[in-house]
Symmetry: C2
Subunit: 711 residues, 2 copies
């Protein structure tokens, strides 16, 4: 904590590198343990990076020539749920296929993307963009170009294509992947092993989670990526990782290859400050008020408690995360250091007349744009919560937007209002039967509207004010809305989805009228936001260029913010000091797992406890530790999307899987603190040890190369 200020000035181990950057940054790592030629790492389609794949929401990697895939347990939870029944609760008990025949299809959600081709499509994207066109038009042109590129690309059979932006949005690439649709479950430990510690230990160290699972990719006998079929055969991946049965030890070099989702490391200082000083504190305030109201209702009334249990725990979890982020951003000296760096870059821009002429106006415009967006977002935050918290307002708002979109050709509709979305909307409207709780809904909405009315003029909406004034004030409005609303009935909600816009306008349901009043303002706001997006597409690349060039002049290399494409991050197995007088050791052990055993989520299957009694004699013992290692800490730079990522040693062999960050890294989407930010990984030796105690795992251990004593 007290190191924060110093830490941010260092760049050590920070960075989610594009493969192509390895020849530049790799040589310095050779001294620190990287043994593979950085040129080899520069090609994402060659080994070892060619073995890294995506499950969409998680990262994964091929670990055998027969298409065996390693990822996290928490990444396959849905697949386990899909394969669970009253007779076989695989979600709870885990699963081991003792032969290929027993490998279980994971259902339609199981998709694996194996990147096949990466092309620069900057010219195609910018072909119809002109320097001085209106921002809304720029945004529309870019969207059109992207849709066209993807549509053309996906003409190829079984290919999935994406356009991704780099350099702050100044360049674009088209990424073509083979989409494997027959994914099967090979192995997952019991839930109590895979997610030992559950929500309580989420983001926490010390940790003893067996967060690993194994899948296998299947294709047709001809090698085509077809949906599940009996006669499909294991996919033969072009590349796969070897497993190093010696795992990862303190101070050893490691790297993570995976698909980090999104970071904001290069955001302007204003964004960081606003999050810490304005947005998160206000959001906490609103969240706390809502939680207090719901807790009050759930406290006295079992019926309310049943309906409100899940929303309350969701909101509390959001509050915990947002508080963690706030605490992280509020860390001593962080905002100042961020501002100081930005000031330095801007001074450097101003110091050269050509640079200043080329960039300064855009940088100022970007800063103003951000300031205005922040202003809008803060004003709208209370309204945002109105829609999220008043269930019936959510229903009528959606009905209005369905009515707006339905007349258009499907392809031109807004995302979320296409034919493919209708069934899910109906399901949500139906599910409300079990969750709608009018008394608490009413109290929350009254609190939100009261907050709204206390906003200064600029923060309010004429149409909504008029609606409230018409009823005579907030309490009268609430009275009207909640006096036996017809939409409390499921059929009435579902009926809304068939109505045209004029039907809705003619309705005398106060919820419908409220949604229409808000839409008078919301429609134009959505359009304005598209224009803002266009302005960002124009201005953000300028900031990136300036930052990039300045970094280079400092003798360093700038990495790009994460964008769900393949990245490599390099570092070491290393502990850290979470606070004065305390040190987080870099490894945990099976003995520690047993010592922490207790009630759910710290329970363990008896079989694992019995297996643990001999753990100190196991071939998976870490000699220095005298026990089987479970989890380890690394200085590696990861974020959401990296779950399931392979942790590699200096030779590119698999030594573990990344599955979480420590509590101090909760703000790491915004800022990386070398002394504190740690990625939590599970050691392959723990996978080996747990498998070793699972009857019927011999073939699998052999396929993984974990079947005999490594010494």
């Amino acid at each position: 904590m007290f190191l924060a200020f110093f830490a941010i000035l260092s760049f050590a181990d920070e960075g989610m590198w594009l493969p192509e950057q390895l020849p530049e940054i790799g040589p310095a790592w050779a001294e620190r343990g990287l043994e593979i030629d950085p040129e080899t790492l520069a090609d994402p389609l060659q080994a070892p990076l060619g073995a890294i794949v995506s499950l969409g929401f998680c990262s994964a990697s091929f670990v055998s020539p027969d298409g065996l895939i390693a990822t996290n347990h928490h990444c396959v939870e849905g697949f386990l749920q899909y394969n669970s029944s009253a007779e076989a609760n695989r979600h709870r008990d885990g699963y081991l296929a003792t032969s290929r025949d027993e490998e279980l299809p994971v259902g339609p959600a199981g998709r694996l993307w194996v990147v096949e081709k990466i092309e620069d499509v900057t010219d195609a994207m910018l072909a119809r963009v002109r320097p001085r066109m209106k921002d809304s038009r720029r945004n529309a042109r870019l969207e059109e170009a992207e849709k066209r590129l993807i549509a053309d690309c996906e003409m190829q059979e079984n290919r999935r294509c994406r356009v991704t932006a780099y350099d702050g949005g100044g360049t674009f690439r088209l990424i073509t992947s083979v989409e494997i649709k027959d994914v099967r479950l090979v192995y997952a430990p019991p839930m109590s092993v895979g997610q030992f510690g559950g929500e309580i230990d989420n983001w926490m160290w010390p940790r003893q989670s067996g967060d690993f699972a194994l899948l296998r990719a299947y294709v047709s006998p001809e090698g085509r990526a077809v949906p599940h079929a009996e006669n499909n055969e294991p996919f033969r991946p072009p590349h796969w990782l070897r497993v190093n049965p010696e795992g990862a030890s303190p101070e050893s070099f490691v790297m993570i290859a995976g698909y980090p989702g999104r970071t904001r490391r290069h955001a302007r200082a204003r964004s960081l400050r606003w999050m810490a000083e304005d947005y998160l504190p206000l959001q906490r305030d609103v969240l706390q008020e809502i939680i207090a109201i719901l807790d009050g209702h759930a406290g006295g009334d079992p019926e309310a408690a049943a309906r409100l249990g899940a929303p309350i725990s969701r909101l509390k979890n959001a509050l915990k995360n947002s508080d963690g982020l706030l605490a992280g951003l509020a860390r001593g000296g962080l905002l100042e250091a961020k501002q100081a760096r930005e000031d330095e870059v801007l001074a450097w821009v101003d110091a050269d007349r050509a640079r200043a002429r080329r960039w300064r106006a855009s940088l100022d415009a970007q800063d103003e744009l951000i300031a205005r967006e922040q202003d809008d977002a803060l004003k709208e935050l209370v309204l945002t919560w109105a829609g999220r918290s008043a269930d019936l307002l959510g229903v009528t708002t959606q009905a209005v937007r369905w009515a707006q979109n339905r007349p258009k050709p499907d392809i031109q509709r807004e995302i979320g209002y296409q034919d493919r979305d209708l069934e899910r909307t109906r399901q949500r409207f139906e599910a409300m039967e079990r969750t709608l709780h009018l008394p608490s809904d009413r109290d929350v909405f009254e609190a939100i509207l009261t907050r709204y009315r206390a906003l200064p003029d600029g923060g309010r909406i004429a149409a909504l004010d008029a609606f409230i004034d018409d009823q005579g004030g907030v309490s009268e409005t609430i009275e009207l809305l909640y006096a036996d609303p017809s939409l409390a009935k499921t059929e009435a909600r579902l009926a809304l989805l068939d109505l045209e816009l004029e039907d809705l306008r003619a309705s005398d349901d106060p919820w419908v009228q409220l949604a229409l009043a808000i839409e008078i303002w919301a429609g134009p706001r959505r359009e304005a936001r598209k224009a803002d997006a266009g302005a960002h597409q124009r201005l953000d690349p300028v900031w990136f260029d300036a930052l990039n060039l300045w970094t280079r002049e400092q003798g360093r290399v700038l990495y790009q913010d994460a964008n769900s494409t393949l990245r490599l991050t390099l570092g070491h197995v290393e502990g850290y000091s979470p606070e004065d007088g305390l040190f987080a050791l870099p490894q945990t052990t099976v003995a520690g797992l047993l010592a922490k055993r207790g009630p759910v989520p710290f329970d363990l299957p008896e079989r694992v406890v019995a297996h643990a009694e001999g753990s100190r004699q196991s071939r998976f013992v870490d000699p220095a530790l005298g026990d089987v290692p479970v989890n380890f800490l690394t200085t590696l730079d990861i974020t959401g999307g990296n779950s399931g990522s392979a942790v590699l040693d200096g030779q590119g062999r698999l030594v573990g899987l990344a599955f979480d960050g420590n509590w101090e890294s909760i703000a790491s989407d915004w800022v990386f603190l070398p002394g504190l930010t740690r990625a939590i990984c599970v050691d392959v030796r723990y996978l080996g040890w747990v498998l070793d105690g699972t009857p019927g795992s011999d073939a699998l251990l052999k396929e993984l190369g974990l079947h005999e004593d490594p010494s």
Copy 2:
């Protein structure tokens, strides 16, 4: 945690040694850093041990030839309170006497005992004790002998004398101390420095407490220990400690000299098991019920909250401590290891016919005695809480006992019922005006009586049952007791203290009648307990002798349980692993103190914060740490009473003051775990650094030898 089982088998660093044991155990410590000749340490009246003194409730030490005394801040809190007023809140702000004139008398509670003579009085104590006398008589004879020895000894002017038992009660010593009555406050830091972290950090590590204070002893110009007088002069102690300005560093040898109160390390296994399995769980149950009732009352009613605030936090603190103790005793394998050791000793006794004949019957009798006492204590636990929780029952019970004792000569009365105690009793009866809260008192007492009535026959009292039956049951009894009780008025309570036993018997106040009913049982129970004490005096020395001889045959030396006499404990500055994956570093720093700053109890005076900005340049910086050290962990063996104890280096110089144990040591009165039990100390360098930032401290820093750069 997971090391517990292995740890208890080791004896490293455990032991509160009598000075006379040092020649035997000291030589082995020479290799580990002890530089003083163990023969020197064997004499408690020579330097350095001759500098160690007692404040009664705390330990302390002379640190200058002018009678300057170092102890803990929390040991002088009462003295600060005594010297506080609305104009000068020294309890909050601390105090520094910039010259001797400004040193403040600490009031009548300030007493310092400097040991002058220690004699073996075993023969005198046992002169009238016969092997086969009744246990109650044995107890009475020992009490008489003790009173006589003390009375004779205290014929000397200004001397305070104590008889202390050793060897399980087989031998006795008479300790004569000079009682210094003019104690003055020289320096105490502000509360926020001295007890940084407050109750939250109590028992916790990491810790950053400046728990130090300085006093000075004064005597008459002729050197006599007289009460405070203007012309008194600083006492010239026979010995004082030199301060080592380099403080204590990781792995360095340290020892603590002080007055530990009481430990139960050599208790029979049955005692430990009973605490863990019976007594503490039942007590927790009762405590939780009472707390829930009081919380309920305080929750809805500000008046109740004001009256119940202090009792609730006292009870919660008791619950926290008792839960900690329970968790400590329930640690894996502890009870089994204790039992295994006892079994080993008993088997060794049985293995030799002479030993078995001499000891076995007594050891069995001791075990049976303990079992019966445990049985009684468990039965009486609910009743104990009746007296503690129903304020008016407490009042009438005391009135009854005053009436019983008043007719006797003062010297023959029970402790607590002598003339000197009357004023305090009256004050307590008056203070009840501000704390008595009948609605919650009623609910608690009803819960206790309900619990009592559910006890099996052997656990209930005929007279109390009859009283309840007479009213028609528990709720009717409660109804009677709380229907406008006259004792709710202060005058009525005070009037009770003048009544004779026959007046009380004639009273128709139901509370008085209830107390008299209970006393029918309680009086004989007090007598029976004296007989049990006599039985312990007969049997406990046998167990100690057996344990002592067995330990010797194992090639080790047995230390004695603490008995509020001077002890020395030897060890090192060393961290520990509180759990798998975490390590408690052995030192904290000023940077860590600042990082932890926040709302009370983590606030700091601005002056300290400003001073801290230059801490890394201070002469008190630990070179290895790069900052001023605050607290440190040691493997030393301490307990209550050790607060304020001097931490000495290998040459006997002062390097710190002990002030707390870590959470894992909360059960250490019963069991010492070398891998986990740690004493928390404050470094003299932090004292020096804080003083250095306090204007006017030059003379004091010089007196302490902390005035110039040690390097």
